[in-house]
């Protein structure tokens, strides 16, 4: 067993609104081994991006509750103050590729400078040294040195996305959080970026947290997969188990709604819509849409049951089959 590089314990992130707190991340725990990739999947508005932002402490102003532990290599980084977090953790240990980041490149700055910028701010090194490392990061993602002197408008979509990945890698982080890294790209470009991410994982021993709503795509990187629904993780399973047959009714429904190219299966959809996170349903949050609901589901929030080999399911049906966590 590999040692855990990252552990999140009972994370909560609520946003305050005029109507009350929005429970975007509610009591989420998971652990991640070194060099392992975790795919975080779920419908939009289920708290995937909020969880990622809670891990790197990039919070908006309207935070209501921010609690829990994030243990990085044995150190609880939630306890660090803003300055310590910025100088020691963010970009250097954990970096992030934001959703749509390729469209947020500064149009008036050269690509090389934008990649080197985080080094210039966080590390006391010379401009030449930073430039050299930026070139190296760009080379890693397959962009030629000559592009250092170019501006973002001269780059194609795929190259912009590569640049953003280079920015995340330039400070040699151990963990990279990828929030929908290919959502605006074409299928072939997307496949090329996936190839790149796989290669980088192998060469640099990176640990990924890969956020996506596309389950077929998640299987490109995931060693482990966590399904989120209404701010909670409903199931965490090994890829080998999950993509063959998930256990939680929500995961099963989600898998049944994925169109496949090579096999024939009947497509299903989940009736209804995800609940509001202001006022989530009592008991299990999925119970109003669940096909196998029974009376206990609407009354008590199910515990998380560990079915062995780190396969955890948050559903009353598995009460007898595993240890409650």
């Amino acid at each position: 067993m590999t040692e855990n590089i990252l552990e999140c314990i009972n994370m909560r992130l609520y946003y305050s609104t005029r109507k009350g707190p929005v429970k975007a991340v509610d009591n989420v725990s998971f652990s991640l081994g070194k060099g392992e990739s975790l795919a975080l999947v779920g419908e939009s508005g289920c708290g995937k991006s909020s969880l990622a932002k809670a891990i790197v402490k990039l919070l908006p102003r309207n935070v209501d509750t921010y609690k829990g532990q994030v243990v990085l290599e044995g150190q609880d980084i939630m306890k660090l103050n803003v300055r310590e977090f910025r100088t020691e953790i963010r970009w250097k240990k954990i970096s992030m590729v934001f959703q749509g980041a390729m469209n947020s490149l500064n149009p008036v700055l050269k690509v090389g400078y934008q990649v080197a910028e985080s080094l210039l701010i966080h590390e006391s090194i010379s401009k030449e040294e930073a430039q050299k490392r930026a070139i190296e990061a760009l080379r890693l993602v397959g962009i030629h040195e000559s592009f250092v002197e170019r501006y973002p408008f001269e780059l194609s979509g795929g190259m912009k996305q590569r640049t953003v990945i280079a920015m995340a890698l330039v400070a040699n982080p151990k963990i990279v959080i990828l929030d929908e890294p290919t959502s605006a790209l074409d299928v072939i470009t997307q496949a090329n970026i996936m190839n790149l991410l796989k290669r980088l994982k192998k060469e640099l021993g990176l640990t990924y947290i890969f956020i996506t709503h596309d389950i077929a795509l998640s299987s490109e990187l995931a060693d482990k997969i966590a399904v989120m629904y209404a701010g909670e993780i409903q199931e965490i399973a090994d890829a080998e188990i999950f993509y063959r047959k998930p256990f939680h009714p929500y995961s099963q429904k989600l898998m049944a709604s994925v169109p496949t190219l090579r096999t024939d299966k009947k497509l299903e959809f989940i009736r209804g819509a995800p609940p509001s996170l202001l006022n989530p349903p009592p008991g299990c949050r999925f119970h109003p849409r669940c096909p196998s609901v029974f009376d206990r589901c609407s009354k008590e929030n199910p515990g998380v049951f560990d079915l062995g080999s780190e396969h955890c399911v948050k559903c009353w049906w598995f009460e007898g089959s595993g240890e409650e966590k």
Binding site: I188, K198, P259
Partner: protein
């Protein structure tokens, strides 16, 4: 053989760019010579990457764009040069469902008014008849209870419900042809299947001819019979969907199929063999076959001579070497 509802012959749509005083005028050749036909009650899918011209083709067929060249024959009438008055007839027969339901529906109208608008424009029925038709349309897309939905405004509905309204609006005039341009790409995965299933049911029940324009090849086989793959303004390959998936004859189709994963834990262990590069600029497209700069099999002939669409193994492909990929 089924009767054809729509025939498109050598259709081109070029967009003019601002020209310099001494230079030749430049054009973006968004659609550059497309031929196809659509049977009555048939559903086809038009697949391509962004910038391949699939949306322009759809909108040109609907005469939302003026075609640069070519014929669009609908019910044996050439509609490529109808005047505005005659176009009103075509507008009743052919409808569009757009990608973004949040932008497609006017926010200051109630759902009832949104659905009534096409009937008012085409001066159909009196107030009671129009109300009846609006209610029917809401029933068809299953926005029930109707009384609850009709007086609402778009901001009160979810994305999936809004897309149902957009579908209902397209159907109020009982069209024979519906073009849906990426109708589900803005929606969540499970809602996508719900809307596509609804579209398919309505298409079969009302015998509508349907063109599903999308970049998502995986969904096409569930919602249509025939597939057209577009690349750089031209059709690269077309035919029965299952045949194309099992035996793609154009190298572009092969790359596209390789690039799309099915959920499988084995995927993380393999690198995909995908051609590098991105679709060409359509102002100055590559000579010969437009895919040749990215094609792993390209030869001198591909650089010089443009391949014609030919029938091979039951479907059509525009590649000089298509027969060599035949199994």
């Amino acid at each position: 053989m089924k009767e054809n509802l729509l025939e498109v012959e050598n259709l081109r749509k070029w967009f003019g760019l601002k020209k310099g005083m001494f230079s030749n005028p430049l054009h973006v050749r968004a659609v550059d010579g497309v031929d196809f036909s659509l049977g009555k009650g048939e559903a086809i899918s038009l697949v391509g990457e962004s910038g391949s011209g699939k949306t322009t083709l759809g909108k040109t067929i609907l005469r939302l764009y003026e075609p640069t060249e070519g014929k669009i024959i609908f019910k044996e009438r050439d509609i490529s040069n109808l005047d505005q008055k005659e176009l009103m007839w075509y507008r009743r027969e052919a409808a569009l469902i757009e990608q973004d339901p949040f932008a497609a529906l006017p926010s200051f109208f109630t759902i009832h008014r949104i659905l009534e608008e096409p009937l008012i424009i085409h001066k159909m029925g009196n107030i009671q008849e129009r109300r009846k038709r609006v209610y029917e349309a809401l029933e068809q897309v299953r926005l029930t209870p109707i009384e609850d939905f009709a007086p609402k405004y778009p901001h009160m509905l979810s994305g999936g419900q809004l897309q149902r309204v957009a579908v209902a609006r397209a159907l109020t005039l009982d069209p024979e042809l519906v073009i849906a341009d990426e109708p589900v790409s803005m929606l969540d995965a499970s809602v996508r299947i719900e809307i596509l299933t609804l579209l398919r049911e309505l298409q079969e029940k009302m015998k509508i001819s349907f063109i599903y324009v999308t970049h998502d090849l995986a969904t096409t086989k569930y919602f249509s019979e025939r597939l057209f793959i577009m690349y750089a303004g031209k059709i690269a390959e077309s035919g029965d969907i299952r045949e194309i998936i099992s035996q793609p004859l154009h190298p572009y189709t092969q790359a596209l199929l390789k690039a799309i994963p099915d959920p499988d834990p084995g995927n993380r262990k393999i690198l995909r063999d995908i051609p590098p590069g991105e679709p060409p600029n359509l102002i100055n497209p590559p000579s010969g076959c437009r895919f040749h700069p990215r094609c792993p099999y390209a030869t001198e002939r591909c650089r010089e001579e443009e391949p014609l669409v030919t029938e091979i193994g039951g479907h059509m492909a525009a590649c000089h070497y298509a027969d060599s990929f035949l199994k």
